[in-house]
């Protein structure tokens, strides 16, 4: 292949990035997963969805989880949220074991899951009211969070009147208003169009910068993972195991302009390698384009 003088290893970190990681690792551990294993007992016998998954996230860290389909990334995040049980291992939040769903772990789903019968404001207020906050106080709190996601004008709209991006912003506000220790996001931008997704990524980084929140973000989009994450947890499929925990060397603050920086390219190349391992080379002749192709158009009708 061609020689690239700019080519660097994805492991190479600039001084600033290295210093940032050192600082990050000194913060307290929010979430600790130890040897997490989940086995399903189905009709066709046992399926191991997760096998010996271990990692730690520190306060205000942004972790992305990535992997091929069937690697159990959704199972992982749902288990962390307490929506699914696990077979063995431990999930510790602030050192205490997770036993079921709770307000200390906010969750944003791919399918928005806003309550259609509640206005935007009432949706965001839901968690506070369920946890017994007086409605006047909750109302004031909600106003702040709606402003944070830029939806104060839509406070009285119903979810079906909003676009996908707006719905997801409401869902983020609804999860954050409870002030969880960690925000779990399960492919939150997967259903959005490319342009909206890009805006939402920038918006999410902005939110993350401004509040005390640790984020665990599932995605299958490599660019998205590199753009957002401090560290990327790469899983492999069948069974879902940790393949590598990559420290993203792209410096912060991040922006889509960094897409073609050497660090970005190197990291992406590494992810590609892990997720789509090079397969056996196929027979060249079998896939080569035939030298003479049947012509389906008029001889005079040329495009070149």
């Amino acid at each position: 292949m061609q020689a690239n003088t700019d080519q660097i290893s994805y492991l190479t970190q600039s001084e600033a990035v290295k210093a940032r990681f050192d600082k990050l690792k000194q913060r307290e551990v929010i979430l600790e997963v130890k040897n997490l294993t989940k086995v399903y007992h189905g009709a066709k016998g046992e399926t191991t969805a997760l096998k010996d998954v271990s990692f730690k996230t520190h306060r205000r860290e942004f972790v992305c989880v990535i992997g091929p389909s069937g690697c159990g990334k959704s199972t992982l995040i749902r288990t962390l949220a307490g929506l699914e049980s696990y077979t063995s291992g431990e999930v510790l939040l602030d050192g205490k074991p997770v036993t079921g769903p709770g307000r200390d772990r906010g969750m944003v789903f791919q399918g928005y899951t806003l309550f259609p019968w509640l206005s935007v404001k009432k949706n965001v207020m839901f968690g506070l009211e369920m946890n017994g906050m007086p409605s006047e106080e909750a109302s004031r709190e909600v106003a702040l969070w709606l402003e944070l996601v830029g939806l104060e004008k839509f406070a009285n709209a119903y979810p079906h009147e909003l676009s996908g991006g707006m719905k997801q912003r409401v869902a983020i506000a609804r999860a954050l208003v409870n002030q969880p220790r960690i925000l779990l996001m399960d492919e939150p931008f997967g259903a959005l169009d490319a342009q909206t997704r890009c805006k939402m990524q920038t918006h999410l980084l902005e939110i993350w910068r401004n509040i005390d929140i640790t984020i665990l973000f599932i995605t299958h989009d490599l660019d998205e993972a590199i753009l957002l994450a401090d560290r990327i947890l790469v899983l492999k499929a069948h069974p879902g195991e940790v393949q590598e925990l990559i420290e993203v060397s792209v410096p912060r603050p991040r922006s889509p302009d960094q897409l073609f920086t050497p660090e970005f390219i190197a990291t992406k190349a590494r992810l590609e390698e892990l997720i789509h391992p090079p397969t056996e080379p196929v027979d060249e002749d079998a896939v080569s384009v035939p030298s003479r192709m049947i012509r389906f158009v008029n001889v005079a009708d040329n495009v070149e």
Binding site: G100, P101, M107, F109, T113, W117, M130
Partner: protein, 320 residues
């Protein structure tokens, strides 16, 4: 695209929808009018206008067309005066204008028997039976349906038996209901309850089960306790669908009405219908049946309108 009447699964313009809605009533009316007013279409009878020399013929008597022709032939052979008549439909098929007339006169005609009821009084009896039957059924059926759609334990405990019971025809319990509840409104209401309740539980539990589970998951991750889920997520979440189910079930309750009212002492609109049929006032019978239809459709339209008001977030209702 808008000019096509038969675009697959595309909604029509409001005017077209209105035209078709009117046509859907006009078409059967047209068939009825054709059969009634065009002499050669059906008319198997002859209405005698002049009996001639046939001994048993009388003016306005309805006779079979065949009999009439035989009698005419006999008279011709014997050289006597021929009977005259015009083609007519049987008495049980009155023409539309007679029924329209009856729709008015049925309300203005006093009852035949002195202790009988006016039509509006009979109707009011029927409406009360439906109302109480439906309310009693719903008071237990709706909560039970929601609970069994929410908690598997409730569903497993109640649904197998209900599934069995719903196949038992409600009218079969008529005699039993009379023995237990007497001969007046009690057993009639009981039949409506039996006919509605078992379907209601199953339909509502099924509707409840269709609520998107991820809404419950979202609520749980927001710190909602298990007991609060029912009141704050399940019930508000299924309310619009539940309301639609109730509208359909109310329609079913009406279909049990006639059978219910035959039990014990015949009452309400059924009593009116059987009385009128006994006197061969078939136009009144049709009028009464039409009134049931009008009341049914009318209530449903009012309820649909109300539903839009009650559930402004409900998309399907607002698209209607």
């Amino acid at each position: 695209m808008g000019s096509n009447w038969f675009a697959v699964r595309q909604e029509l313009t409001p005017e077209r929808r209105k035209i078709l809605a009117i046509a859907s009533f006009l078409l059967p009316l047209l068939v009825w009018a054709l059969v009634s007013y065009v002499p050669f279409i059906w008319h198997p009878m002859v209405k005698v206008t002049s009996p001639g020399d046939v001994e048993y013929f009388q003016v306005d008597m309805l006779v079979n067309k065949v009999t009439f022709e035989e009698e005419t032939a006999t008279m011709q052979e014997e050289g006597k005066q021929l009977p005259l008549g015009e083609p007519s439909n049987p008495i049980y098929l009155p023409p539309p204008h007679k029924v329209v007339e009856a729709l008015y006169t049925a309300f203005t005609t006093p009852p035949v028997q002195r202790d009988g009821l006016w039509l509006h009084q009979s109707l009011w009896q029927s409406i009360q039976v439906i109302f109480w039957g439906f309310v009693i059924s719903s008071l237990v059926g709706v909560p039970l349906g929601i609970l069994s759609g929410t908690y598997s334990a409730v569903s497993r405990l109640f649904e197998p038996f209900i599934e069995f019971f719903r196949y038992l025809p409600a009218p079969a319990f008529g005699a039993l209901a009379v023995a237990v509840l007497g001969i007046y409104d009690g057993p009639k209401i009981a039949i409506i309850v039996i006919g509605t309740f078992f379907q209601q539980v199953l339909i509502i539990s099924n509707t409840t089960r269709k609520l998107d589970y991820s809404l419950l998951e979202a609520a749980m991750t927001l710190g909602t306790s298990r007991w609060k889920l029912l009141r704050h997520v399940v019930i508000p979440g299924v309310l619009p669908e539940l309301y639609r189910d109730q509208r359909i079930l109310l329609g079913w309750a009406w279909t049990y009405l006639i059978v219910a009212e035959l039990i014990g002492t015949s009452s309400g609109i059924t009593w009116f219908i059987t009385q009128q049929a006994r006197y061969e006032h078939f136009e009144n019978v049709y009028a009464a049946i039409l009134i049931i239809g009008i009341i049914g459709l009318g209530t449903d339209m009012v309820l649909a309108r109300l539903g839009k008001r009650l559930f402004p977030w409900d998309k399907p209702a607002n698209k209607e």
